[in-house]
Assembly symmetry: D2
Homo-oligomer: 315 residues x 4
C-alpha cells in the first residue's frame, strides 16, 4: 500500500514533465511554406534527381532483386473500412478463326491505401490543413484532389538504407507496442556501420511484418513503431521517404493517449515526407542487406491520396 502510494505520488510529480514531452502539431506559420516552396506538391520527392538515381545505381553490384511488396489478397489485413474485392470477368469469346478468349477482373478497393502502400500528401491533415497548408476544402472533389495528388510523385529510385531495430535488440520481432527511440535508430545505424544521407529511402525493420500472413488481427491491433521524437529526428536527416513493415509507421497506440498517429502528421503534413507501409522486409533483414537501390513506382491515380505499390530493393 505504502509503496503503491509513493508510486502514485511519483507519477503525479512527474506528470507535468511527461506532458511537456508530448507532441503538438506546429502552427501553420512554422511549417508553411515548406522548404520546397509554397507551390510545391512533391515534398521530399524533390530529392529525386539524376544524381540521386546515379548514387542508387552505384549500389547495384550483384543484380540481386528483393521484392518488398505484399501480394494483394481479399483476405489480407486491412485498416478498418478498407477492403480489396476482386471478381474475374471471364469471356468465352472464342473470337475469330483464331478462337481468342479474353479475361479481366473488376476490383473494388481503397486502392491507394491497401497492401504495401505509398502515402501521398492528401492522405493526412492537421485539422483541415494538408502539406504546405493547402486546405482540404479548397482541393477536394468527389472524384479526387485537385492538388497534391499521388500522380505528381513519379518513380522514386534512390539509395535505400535498412535500419534493423529488431536485430539491434536481438529479436526477430519487436514487442507489441515497442516505441522506437532516436537512440534505437542511431544504435542500429552504428551497429550496421552506416550513416544516413539526404535523399535516402529510410526503411525500418521491426519484424512486425511476420504477422501479416499468420495473425492479421494482431498485426492490426497494435504495433512497434516510431516515437514522435524518433520521427522528428528522422525527418531532420532529410530522407526522400520513410518505409516500415507495419501500417501506421508510428508506435500504436502512441504513448500519449491523447495523440492520434502523430507520426503520420510529422512525416506527411509537417515535413512533406512520403511513407511506404506494410513492406515485406524479411528477406532483406535475413540476408542483412542494409544498403541498396530502392525503386518504387506509385500508380499515377489522378488526385489520389496514395497508391498500392510493389517496391523493390536491388543490390
Amino acid at each position: 500500500m505504502r509503496v503503491r502510494a509513493s508510486v502514485v505520488i511519483g507519477l503525479v510529480l512527474f506528470a507535468p514533465h511527461a506532458h511537456a514531452q508530448s507532441w503538438a502539431p506546429p502552427a501553420d506559420s512554422q511549417r508553411c511554406p515548406s522548404k520546397w516552396g509554397a507551390a510545391d506538391q512533391r515534398g521530399a520527392g524533390n530529392h529525386m534527381k539524376p544524381e540521386t538515381v546515379l548514387r542508387a545505381t552505384r549500389l547495384i553490384r550483384t543484380g540481386e532483386v528483393f521484392e518488398l511488396g505484399r501480394v494483394l489478397r481479399t483476405d489480407m489485413p486491412f485498416s478498418p473500412g478498407r477492403r480489396f474485392e476482386m471478381e474475374v470477368k471471364r469471356t468465352n469469346m472464342n473470337a475469330g478463326s483464331n478462337r481468342r478468349g479474353s479475361n479481366e477482373e473488376i476490383v473494388f478497393s481503397e486502392i491507394g491505401q491497401v497492401g504495401t502502400q505509398f502515402d501521398g500528401f492528401t492522405h493526412q491533415t492537421i485539422g483541415d490543413s494538408l502539406y504546405n497548408c493547402v486546405k482540404v476544402a479548397d482541393v477536394s472533389t468527389r472524384g479526387g484532389f485537385t492538388k497534391l495528388g499521388i500522380e505528381h510523385v513519379g518513380t522514386l529510385m534512390t539509395r535505400g538504407v535498412l535500419i534493423d531495430v529488431a536485430a539491434l535488440k536481438g529479436v526477430s520481432m519487436l514487442p507489441d507496442t515497442y516505441p522506437i527511440t532516436v537512440e534505437d535508430l542511431q544504435g542500429a545505424l552504428q551497429r550496421q556501420k552506416l550513416t544516413l544521407q539526404p535523399g535516402d529511402a529510410v526503411i525500418i525493420n521491426t519484424g512486425w511484418g511476420r504477422l501479416w500472413d499468420t495473425d492479421g488481427a494482431r498485426y492490426l491491433r497494435t504495433n512497434p513503431g516510431l516515437t514522435t521524437a524518433a520521427a522528428e529526428w528522422l525527418a531532420k536527416q532529410d530522407p526522400m521517404l520513410i518505409g516500415i513493415d507495419n501500417g501506421p509507421v508510428g508506435v500504436t497506440p502512441d504513448p500519449d493517449p491523447n495523440l492520434s498517429n502523430p507520426v503520420h502528421q510529422i512525416a506527411l503534413v509537417v515535413n512533406g515526407i512520403h511513407l511506404l507501409e506494410n513492406l515485406k522486409l524479411d528477406e532483406l533483414a535475413g540476408k542483412q542487406v542494409y544498403e541498396f537501390a530502392l525503386i518504387v513506382q506509385p500508380l499515377k491515380i489522378q488526385g489520389a491520396t496514395g497508391s498500392t505499390v510493389a517496391p523493390t530493393a536491388v543490390r
Copy 2:
C-alpha cells in the same frame, strides 16, 4: 463490268496465296510444354536474372528518368466494358489533441486492364487454353486464377530498346491501320544502329500515343501495330516483354478479317511473352533515347490477368 470481273478473277487467283499468309494458332503439341518448362508460370519473365539487372544497370549513365505510365483518369480511353471510377472518402476526424484527419478513396475498375497496363498470361486464350496449355476451367475461380496470376511476375528490370517505326517512316504518327512489318522493325533497328538481345524489353513507338489525351475515340477505333509476322519475328528474338504506345499491340483491325487480335495470342499464349500497353513514349522518342534500363513493377494482385503500371525508362 469487264474491269470488275477481272478484279474478281485476280482475287480468286491470289486468294490461296493470301490465305496461306494468314495466321492460325499452333496446335497444343507445338507450343506446350513451353520452353520454360511444363510447370512454368512466368514465361519470358524468366529472363529476369542478376545478369539481366546488371546489364540494364550499366545503361544508366546520366540518371535521367522517363515516365512511361499514363495518369489514371476516369475519362481516359478504355477498351469496351472497362472503366476507372474513383470516389474520395473524406473524413473530418479531427482526431486526438493533434487534430488528425485522414482521406482515402474507393476505386472501382478493371484495374488489371486499364491505363498503362501489363498483361499477364491469364488474360488471353486460344479456345479455352492459356499459356503452357493450362485450361481456363482448371484454374479460374470467381475471385482470381489459381495459376499464372500476375503476382508471379515481380519487378522486371532489363535493357530496354525503343524501336521507333514512326521515325523510320519520317512521321510523328503512323497511319490509322498501318501494319508494322518485319522489315519495318529491322529497318528501324538498323537506322538506330542497335541489335536486339535475348531478354530485352522491346518497346515500339508508333506515335499513336499522342491521341491518348486528344482523341480517345480515334485512339480506340483502329491503330497501327504489329502484323502476325512481325510479332512472330519479335518473339524469335526472345525478348522479356514487348511494349507499345497503343492498346492491342497488333495492327487493328488485323488485315485478315477472320482474325481477332492474333498478336495477343502470339505473345501471351504461344510464346509466354508479357505485353506492356498504352505506354507514353513521346519523351523517349523525342529525345531519341533508344537504349535504357526499363523498370516495371506490376502489382501483385493475386490471380489477376494483369496490372495497371507506371513503368520507367532510366538512362
Copy 3:
C-alpha cells in the same frame, strides 16, 4: 459616378421587397422537435396506418396496375457524380448430374439516388442538421447513418392523387424552368375535381419525364418544378409523400439564384416528407388516372439516404 450611385440606391430600395419573396430555412427552434416527436425517424411516413391502407384499397376497383418506375440502365440520366455500373457474373458450372448453371451480377452504384428514387431523411441537410435537428456528425459513419436511415420507412400504401399541372396548362410538357405555383396546384385539383387529404401521396405531373429516354442532357439541365411557396403549401396539406417526374422536385434553377434546391429542404429537412423522384407518369396522365392506390417498397438499406424503387399505382 453619379449614375452608378443611383443604381446602388435603386438596389437598396428594392432589396427588401426582393428579399421578402425569397426563402430562408427556419431556425432549429421553429422546426424541432418535429410534429411526430423528438425521437421520430419516419416523418410523414407515420401516416402509414391500417386506415390509410384501407382507404387506398377502396380505390382499387378495376385491378389495373401502372408501373411508375424507370428501368435501371447504365446510360440513364444521372445527377453529377452518380452512376449505375453492372457486370454480369456468368458461371458455366454445369453442376451436378442436373447440369445446373447460375448467373448473377455485380452492381456499383449510388443505389439510393439513381433511377426512380425514394429520398430518405439523411439525404439532405440545413447546414449540418437533418430532419428533427439530428446532427450529421452524430449519426454518420462510413458505412451508413445510425439514425434516420431508409430502413425505417417500410412499405407505403396510401391514396395517390395525380396533380396534372401540364394538363391544366394544356401542354404535354411544362417549359424548361417553369415555376409551379400554389395557384397551379389548386387550379389543377379544381379541374380534376379532387381535394387533398392528410396522408395522401401527392404526385405531380409536369410532363418532363418524356425527356428521360429522349434527351437526358436536357432532362438534367433545368426542369419545371415547385416554387418554395408551392412546396410549403403542399407540406401544409400534410401528405405522406410528394412525387414528381423530375429529379429535383423544385423548379431548377430556383428563381432566387442564391438558393440551392430549397424544396428538398422544405420537404425532407423542415417537414419530414419523403420525396419520390424521376417517376414515369405518362400512362397515368394519358389515361387521366387521378386517384389510385400508390404502393412503394423502399429497399431496407441499413443507414442509407434513399432507395431506388419501382413504385406502382393501382386503380
Copy 4:
C-alpha cells in the same frame, strides 16, 4: 461380415429403384416452348392480371401490413462470392444562402442476389439453356442479358398463402436438412383449411429464418426445404411465385448427392416460376396469417438475373 455383405447386396438390389426416384432435368422438347408461348419472358408472372389484383384486394380487410423483407446489411448472410459493401458519400456543401448539404452512398453488391431476393429467369440454367430454352450464349452480354431480364416482371400483387410446415410439425423451426414432402404441403394446407388457386403466391414457412440474425453460418450451411417431388407438385398447382424463408428453396443438400439444387431448375428453368427467397416470415407465422395480399416490386434492373426486394403481406 456376413451381415455387412447382405447390406451391400441389398443396396445393390435397391440401387436401380433409388436411382429411378431421383430427378433429372426434362429434355428441351418436354419443356419448350413454355405454356406461356415460345416468345414469353415472364412465365408465371403472366398470372398478373386485373382479376388477380382484385382477388388480392378483396383479402385486405384490416389494413395490417407485414414487412417480409430483410434489412440490407454488410454483415448479413451471403451465398459464397456475394457481398453488400456500402460507403457513405458525405458532402459538407453548405450550398447557397440556404446552406444545403447532401449525402448519398455508393453500394457495391450482387444486388440481384442478396438479402430478401426475387429470382429472375436468367439466374439459373440447365446446361446452357434458360427458361423457354433460351441459350445463355445468345442473350448474355457483359452488362446484362438481352432477354428474360428482371425488368420484364413488374409489380406482382396476388393472393398470398402461407404454408406453415413448421407449425404442422409442431416446431418453431424444421431440422437442418428436413426434406419437405408433398404430404407435408398437403397436410399443412389441410390443417390451415386452405386450398391453392392458380396464380397464388405460395409462401412456405420452415422457421429457418430465425437463424438469419442469430447464426448466419448455420443459416447458409444446410437448410430444410422442398424435395424435387414437392417442388413439382407445387409447380402443378400453377402458382405465380414460390417464396420461402431460406435461400435455396430446395432442401440443402439434396437427398440425392448427385443433384445441385434441382428445385431452382424446376421452378425457374422448367416451369418459369419466380422464386422469392430469404423472406422474413416470423410475424406472419406468429399471428397465423395464412391468406393475404402479397405485393412485391422487383427493381427494373435492365438485363439482371434478379432483384433484392422488400415485399409485403397485407390483410
